[in-house]
Amino acid sequence: MSKFVLATKLEAPQERRTLILRPRLVNLLVEGLASRLILVSAPPGFGKTTLVAGWLRGIDQPFAWLSLEENDNDPVRFLAYLIAALQRVDPALGQGLQPLIGAPQAPPPEALVEMLINELAERGRPAMLVLDNYHLIQNETIHHVLDELIEHQPVEFHLILLSRHDPPLPLPKLRACGQLTEIRETDLRFSEEEAVVFLQEAMHLELAPQDVASLTERTEGWIAGLQLAGLSLQQCEDAGRFIANFRGDDRYILDYLMEEVFRHQSPEIRDFLLQTSILDRMSAPLCELILGGFEQSNGETSLSAGDILEYLERSNLFVIPLDNRRELYRYHHLFADLLRFRLERKYPERLPELHRRASHWFAQAGDPDTAMQHALAIPDHTLAADLAEIFMLTMIGSSRLTAYQQWIAHLPDGLITQRAYLCAGCGWTYSLICQLESAAKHVAAGEAALEFYQPIFSPADKRQISREEVGGHLAAIRAYIARLQGDYSGAVEHSHRALEGLPPEASTVRSVVAFNLGMLHMHNGQMAMAREAFQDALEAAQKSEQNLYIAVSTLCLLGGMAVTVGLLNQAADYYERAIQMVQQESGLSVSMPALSYAYGGLGGVHYQRNELDKAQQHLDTASRLVTHLGMPETIVMADIYQALLALERGDIQLAGKQLIQAEVRMQTHPVRGGILVEWSVSRGEFFLAQGDAASAVQWLKGRGIEAGALSGVSRTTGMSSDQMHLQGTREAEYLLLARALLAQGSIDQATDLFEQVCDLAKTTQNRAVLIEGLVFRAIIACDRRGNSTQALPYLEQALDLAAPEGYVRPFIKAGESLIKLLRQAIAQGIHPAYAHRLLSDLIERERRLGRIMRPPVGTNGRLSSLNTPLEPLTDRERQVLRLLAAGLSSNQVAEELIISVSTVRSYMKSLYQKLDAHNREEAIEKGKRLGWL
């Protein structure tokens, strides 16, 4: 991503000429730091950049500067530059975000800027950001991103926009609440006093006061006008006459003065100015290349481009150095416009060649945007099409879709359809922005053109693009479209064809195709095939530089799949690799949100291994990472594990709070599959921990989990283990039901159910459930027969399964009744070391939880002892109650549920009535006792 960040855009332009101190404007700027936005809005030539850059250089505070250009109308590029600019202030800023920018399947720009705002807030130290030339931005998304930034920026952050016209941001609103500081044309105009100082110190002119007054009046304090007038005067014998002529002339002042300035230059300089004016940025070697071979006006050239650039800068001829080493320059925008206008009239025949040379230069330098800009200026469509092909992987691979779409919009359809590889570029662009019809059209055209395809050499990728590779791209796009249209079998088939065609070097595309193929298999419940595809995706993603996001996501998914079949070692290994990968890429930062899944998963592994402190630590990291970014599965998962961990520590209240938090989030961010099961199980555990088996049974019944239902699920349908995963492994819920039944004393029913659950878990390879089921079967066998002969084989099986992966949790859940059995296992030499470890963990836990293991005294926490309300709550009333319990005000509840405050109040009134509660606290308390919270 950093590849296309040009450092010179991040430097505040530094002009050699003497700065005019403008204390009244500096005061405005300093006072403006108290507002949310400083806007310097005025037409060109009023010294906006000079003012702000000069002020910032004079104060001892780090600042970020970004000079925008037309090519920045691409959210991906814009964000990359924004972060690169901010890193000049603090290299740690946005490091975790960097790999996400432009990464395939990364979060949208709005989400990324939200994360950036959080980082700025957490940093808590002042930061200033200047966006120069903001008028060039027309992209709605970028305006939106800025709007977000202004709205939510921390107080230490200061944003300064420089623009030729007012940007489409909510300025009236900011103005109304005094959050906008404006420096406008009237402020920026030179006063007569300033004009005197400027003409004396910067232009070295001694003029009579009435002449200065005349100049100021004629130019209306416009600085560029004064500068041009000054330049003319420097070369003029009779200042008084010049000023009189200037005053009496009614021509547009820029035309008049430019003519004056230009006339005084040597023919050589004039030609140089004209022909280099097509460049937005120029260096001496680039200028040499541009001018080389053209017949110059004075015959032989005597000055090098470097000499000329230096002369121009020394004479204040509107060139602005872009770096401290004086290697890159640009013309002042006003001057460039006028030079280009003259160039078109003087050398119209040279224009195409000039642009062509510039285009080649920038293509060689790896700057696709500027290369394309020159190709389109000619316009040379063949050259543009070549560039679009050469930089296809660069642009699409870094999600620069907006820019690529603008490129291809300039190309005639007839040209595109002849080129298979370009069709692939169009197909990718349109499919990724969800214009599937256009995408499919281009893929079809590409497939037709494939027959005539001649391998092209891509300098950007340093290799030949073979016909097979182009075919691979087209198939990959077909797969993508099919997946979005819900055609799974088609998507799988196209993916396989794509992976056959794409060479290993096309690693970015390969990783995306394989990743999506893995997701397809996973949703189809074909776990073995999914794993294989994810392995491919991982391998390809590691080869590609741009694919950290896919690599991390793949590792997390592989970790999750390992957990579902109980391979904790493997899962931990995947998660740790994901974390390491991000750390290696971005130094110390761990703020990449995709990682929250890895930390959450690791927390789960440690929870199973009864390493509570480590589990807590990882879960806290996960919760912190997900707080700001909506990835529903991970957020809910983190809440659920936090609840389970709280239960383990005996903190029922905290566990309840975490569960409510998860449920509140689930209302706004629906989740499905395995997470619903995990949530249901944690709810059940919550009841069981309070000795309330009846509520657990009732809860599970509401979820469709009843003792009789299991035999139907597992046996009659004859589902494969893969299909079982598709439904979410509900055996965990049946296991919980069996435990609840056991706690209620329904031993026969529980025994049957444990047996069925174990059978089911064997089919689904759910190791955690199988171990726990076997443990309980052992306990029941022991209790019934009074001896352990029948029990130990179950325990032995459980230990066989648990020892290699380090499972502890399924054992110690069983409580003190397992102590005796474990001792006997040790005595008989059944996994004695492992059994010993379990025993000590178990005893420690019993000691810790001793207080709450006994049923609570009194009515607290018991459903049966409460008067059941006459009328049950409606779904909406329950939602409101949950949100209230989560500590939300009625206004916040209204916001959350997107209903009016008065509606919330009426729900509150009716639920108070039903619960016979007189206030919020009472309602929440009663709701809790009823197990609704």
Binding site: S41, A42, D166, P168, P172, T186
Partner: protein, 102 residues
């Protein structure tokens, strides 16, 4: 007539746009007053009028109109027309014969 913080008079502008601008969506109008007219031919015209401090602000509004996909019909500097007498003709005609509907 309003003045800015320099005590200078702020120029007044009148901008006509084809179609109806939703007053709810027009938060960006700032100090501009929005009136909807309909022409004798039954076409709807939105008229924005009020102080526009300078050229940067004016171009900001014009770009907004462009970005919203609205069709710009005319821009008048009231000061200029008052000086040159063209507006008198207009006021006589009661807004070019438009009828104000809002």
């Amino acid at each position: 007539m309003s003045t800015n913080h320099h005590g200078l008079t702020v120029p007044q502008y009148k901008i006509e746009v084809s179609g109806r601008i939703d007053p709810q969506r027009a938060a960006w109008l700032g100090d501009l007053d929005l009136k909807i007219h309909s022409t004798p031919e039954g076409k709807t015209i939105s008229v924005l009028s009020g102080p526009v401090p300078d050229q940067a602000a004016l171009y900001g509004i014009i770009n907004r109109i462009r970005d919203m996909g609205l069709k710009l019909l005319s821009i008048h500097s009231m000061e200029y027309y008052r000086k040159n007498g063209s507006v008198t003709h207009q006021t006589k005609e009661e807004n070019n014969g438009y009828t104000t509907v809002e």
